[in-house]
């Protein structure tokens, strides 16, 4: 999968992001928080560890979590984020020192962003921005895919509802659809809602 070109000037990037830093070493925490503040991000929370602090993390609702790949809390973080809705899910950035191909491979697999080569404080802003921008592209594609799947499901439901009306009322396909559309408009609902109700009723009656 080739990554589309990324616009690094995305203005949403400068929004004040909520950042959670998971790091046990207090001096390193200080450095990271300072660097984030200097970069213009001030909504930062630092925790030495997050195991069993799932509620704290959920309440803070971070946009980004910065955590060392070597940190065992990663499993906890994964469980917390999986339980969150996709579009509100935090972007986890894993700081690692292994090698450069890993970031690309991980991103192409579409799960998480690895920030390799450690995290040098003077590079924190561009590194974070790049990782976030890439992740946004991936997430965008994912939600488009989800939308396409949903549309296909809706199509199937509408077809079933149409078929039911055609059989029960002796209507043509266009008439059946027209009837559902009129009902939806009269009731201020969506066609798919009317179709779903019809399919449910048909299942109950059959």
């Amino acid at each position: 999968m080739d990554l589309p070109k990324i616009d690094y000037d995305d203005s949403s990037m400068s929004e004040n992001l909520r950042i959670l830093v998971v790091e046990a070493d207090p001096s390193r925490v200080r450095d990271i928080v300072d660097a984030l503040n200097d970069a213009g991000w001030t909504d930062v929370m630092a925790l030495a560890q997050i195991s069993a602090l799932d509620r704290t993390v959920k309440e803070f609702a971070p946009d980004i979590v910065l955590i060392d790949l070597a940190n065992p809390d990663r499993d906890t973080l994964e469980q917390i984020t999986v339980a969150t809705e996709t579009d509100k899910r935090a972007v986890a950035l894993f700081v690692d020192r292994t090698d450069d191909t890993l970031t690309q491979a991980a991103l192409n697999a579409g799960v998480s962003a690895y920030v390799v080569d450690g995290l040098t404080m003077n590079r924190i802003k561009p590194v974070l921005e790049t990782a976030i921008a890439r992740f946004k592209v991936i997430r965008q594609m994912q939600s488009e895919l989800d939308a396409a799947k949903q549309a296909l499901e809706d199509r199937k439901t509408i077809d079933r509802a149409k078929g039911f009306l055609m059989r029960q009322r002796g209507l043509s396909e266009d008439e059946a659809y027209g009837l559902m559309r009129k009902t939806a408009m009269d009731q201020g609902r969506k066609v798919i809602d009317v179709a779903t109700a019809l399919v449910t009723a048909a299942d109950l009656l059959s």
């Binding site: 069993a52 790949l69 065992p72 990663r74 469980q79 697999a109 579409g110």
Partner: protein, 377 residues
């Protein structure tokens, strides 16, 4: 001839023993392998490294390859179970507060314990597990679902932090692999109530996993790896080898755990609470006997069903447990192979002789605490 380097990921728990023994006792070297054991900080990290090709093979929690094949395990990748590394070996423990509230229950009485816990008034119980796609979590869900009134909250806690999580009141109970249950007892923070085998008598716990394309492209290296690990597991289950095994594992840089923490799991003598006499648990941690290493397709199907798989997902899961490769690769070294690759999970109440290639296979009980059976054929 120089040895073939093979990078194998693991998490430092007692049940990674077959990998450590394969390396330390030279079973891997005998197969011409330089087994490079790469310690992983978390299961998520291990999974990513294996899926992205930084590891050739890895110790995994048995549900992980299945979850990944169903597309729910975090990273979509085709990961196979080459063989089972260990059966059972987990414990369920409660905080001192909860222990006092529920009163005396016989160690290992899954039904009685559940009744007491369900009768416990108050907020939903917070129960610590190491990872969502773990046999611990599946057994916990299976067990607690039989008490419809009981509500629990699953909290993911890295095993080394489990004792602290109980001590600090973050969790009321936990389900964890050794040595971390015994550690929580030693620090005076918890009481062990039962083991995983009290819910399912023969639960595949850790597996040796590899990417499907890797095992296809490296069939010879894969065979040598499986043979080395098979011999190590066989050695580990020899009664006379246990003291030496504890000594080797205790000294190994790969585990970094003292011998007294390894002893309970390997001997099956668990101390449920401070000052209590040890309890001898049959098959607490089985490495080899009773076809423990055989990746039964029906075990894969059971896991898939617990993870909510449909018929198609269950069929795909079965293909992840490579009993075909197991037969192919271990037939030549005298392994006794079962006649079938699936069994009715939960149907064995006693040790039972079954048809096998060498004719002396005895399967251990695999019953569930509620007596249910699962036929996936």
């Amino acid at each position: 001839m120089t040895a073939q380097v093979l990078n194998c990921g693991y998490v430092p728990l007692v049940d990674c023993a077959p990998l450590v023994i394969a390396k330390e006792l030279g079973f891997a070297a005998e197969e011409g392998l330089d087994l490079n054991l790469v310690r992983q900080p978390s299961w998520s990290a291990l999974r990513d490294m294996l899926a992205l090709g930084h590891l050739d093979a890895a110790q995994m929690l048995s549900p992980m390859p299945i979850a990944m094949s169903m597309g729910i395990g975090g990273l979509p990748a085709q990961i196979d179970t080459l063989m089972v590394l260990s059966v059972n070996g987990t414990v369920f423990g409660v905080s001192n507060t909860l222990a006092a509230a529920i009163g005396d229950v016989t160690f290992g009485d899954a039904k009685g314990l559940l009744a007491r816990i369900a009768a416990h008034e108050g907020r939903p119980l917070r129960i610590g597990v190491p990872f969502h796609y773990a046999m611990h979590r599946l057994l916990l869900s299976y067990w607690t679902k039989t008490a419809p009134k009981l509500t629990i909250e699953e909290v993911t806690v890295p095993p080394p932090r489990m004792a602290a999580a109980v001590a600090e009141g973050h969790v009321d109970a936990f389900w964890v692999g050794e040595p971390w249950g015994s550690v929580a007892v030693q620090t005076g923070d918890a009481t062990l109530m039962m083991t995983g085998s009290d819910v399912w008598k023969f639960a595949p716990e850790k597996v040796l996993a590899a990417r499907r394309d890797w095992s296809a492209d490296n069939s010879d290296v894969g065979r040598r790896l499986m043979r080395a690990v098979y011999r190590a597991a066989q050695w580990l289950d020899g009664r006379q080898n246990k003291p030496l095994a504890i000594e080797i594992l205790g000294r190994s840089e790969h585990l970094n755990l003292s011998s007294d923490l390894i002893d309970p799991a390997v001997t099956g003598h668990l101390t449920p609470g401070l000052g209590q006499p040890p309890v001898a648990v049959t098959r607490f941690l089985q490495f080899h006997k009773h076809a423990a290493n055989f990746p039964w397709r029906s075990q894969a199907a059971w896991i898939a069903q617990q993870l909510g798989a449909d018929a198609e997902g269950t069929a795909r899961a079965k293909q992840c447990f490579r009993s075909d490769l197991y037969r192919q690769n271990l037939n030549g070294i005298g392994a006794d192979l079962p006649g079938a690759s699936e069994k009715v999970e939960g149907s064995l109440k006693f040790e039972t002789a079954v048809a096998s290639t060498r004719g002396h296979m005895i399967l251990a009980p695999d019953a569930f605490f509620d007596g249910r059976t699962f036929d996936f054929t």
